[in-house]
Subunit: 228 residues, 2 copies
């Protein structure tokens, strides 16, 4: 008898290679580290293959993270995480349209500005970074996730369990389930479906609120979704 | 020796009267019920004093919630919660400018639309409902909070502890501290500072994501902020 499929069921993603574009930044290195710890083959991408290799090596030889230029990383990843600064977001994705065709592309970019009053959400023509990715990459399966992970926590060797739910947004049920399963590969983390891609803006922008929380409480704040 | 003031310290708000404008709706009645349970004097406001009195009576005679028209409720409240539908938001506040002058006005309105694909955030000229309130009420102390409370949970007599952090946003530190303390009067709830009012849009809009979560997981989802 087949088991009933529930919203909590997750596919097996353990064999997938994860590429992290812009993976030399703190968030990218933190995610690369956690997925490598979980046993994934991981490739850090950067504009410079040398800098990517250096960032990968810095994570520790035991993790076996590879480095490559962004195009090569995109080719090698089964799942490709986009962790570039917002400034270069559109141009990078436009340059990798062919490499990213048919793949699950996970956008975790937060378009934020900072001034004397702190962080704030930048307006995005397409509505959100994730929707911009979808517009630029019509042949990819774009999912939004990993916006609220703390790079400091991900990179901290003292932290085995990360106290966080990763909200996963998208219109492709299979793709969001795969990314939810990927999120759950990080110790302590759950991947929780968070709505369609058109509701990604507020999840990206909410990072400004978490930064405000961090400043007030001297914390590395994250979210948990209750009753799920 | 005076104790060091920390971001977790809260003022005593137990003697404050709470008014809930648009308090005949589910969210308004739910909040009215919880603040009355906590011992506050509570006034439900509505366009019709009769409907307000009926909604108040429906909560149970033992709670002693009063009903009045919105103007009278605004006059009686030390803290005035705005829980009206988004449609009538601006007009109601414009009509109560005098009554709300000098008071803490807590906006919990979520400007959302619904179509065949579910909920989505509506654009707001001022940026958010809370910023619209601030623009319309220059003489009030506008705070944004209580966006994600589940009316079903607040009204459920079986639920003593509500598993939720209420994000409290605003530019007036004393006012946000008072509203954080008010949130904490609901069993199980914490009031957590969530940033300046200009970052209210994403908190309001995030309600669309929670509705999507509720539909997928058949839940009454809320938020907890970790590491705070």
């Amino acid at each position: 008898m087949a088991e009933q499929r529930t919203p909590h069921d997750l596919p097996d993603v353990s064999g997938l290679t994860v590429a992290v574009l812009g993976g030399t930044g703190d968030q990218g290195r933190g995610l690369a580290r956690r997925f490598a710890l979980a046993g994934h083959s991981v490739v850090i991408g950067s504009r410079s293959a040398e800098r990517a290799a250096a960032a990968a090596a810095e994570l520790g030889a035991d993790l076996g993270v590879a480095g490559a230029d962004n195009a090569e990383a995109a080719r090698r990843g089964d799942i490709v995480i986009v962790a570039v600064p917002w400034d270069g977001h559109r141009a990078l994705l436009e340059s990798l349209r062919a490499e990213l065709a048919g793949k699950i592309v996970v956008d975790c970019v937060n378009p934020l500005g900072f001034d004397a009053k702190g962080p704030y959400a930048l307006p995005v023509e397409e509505g959100s970074a994730a929707q911009q990715a979808e517009a630029v990459l019509p042949d990819s399966r774009v999912v939004a996730a990993f916006h609220h992970v703390s790079a400091v926590v991900l990179l901290d060797p003292e932290v085995d369990e990360v106290d966080l739910d990763v909200l996963v947004l998208g219109d492709d049920r299979e793709a969001t389930d795969i990314v939810r399963a990927l999120a759950a590969r990080i110790g302590g983390v759950r991947g929780v479906y968070g709505g369609r891609l058109r509701n990604a803006h507020q999840v990206e922008a909410f990072t400004a609120n978490l930064i405000a929380v961090n400043r007030r409480y001297k914390a590395h704040a994250g979210l948990r979704i209750t009753d799920v």
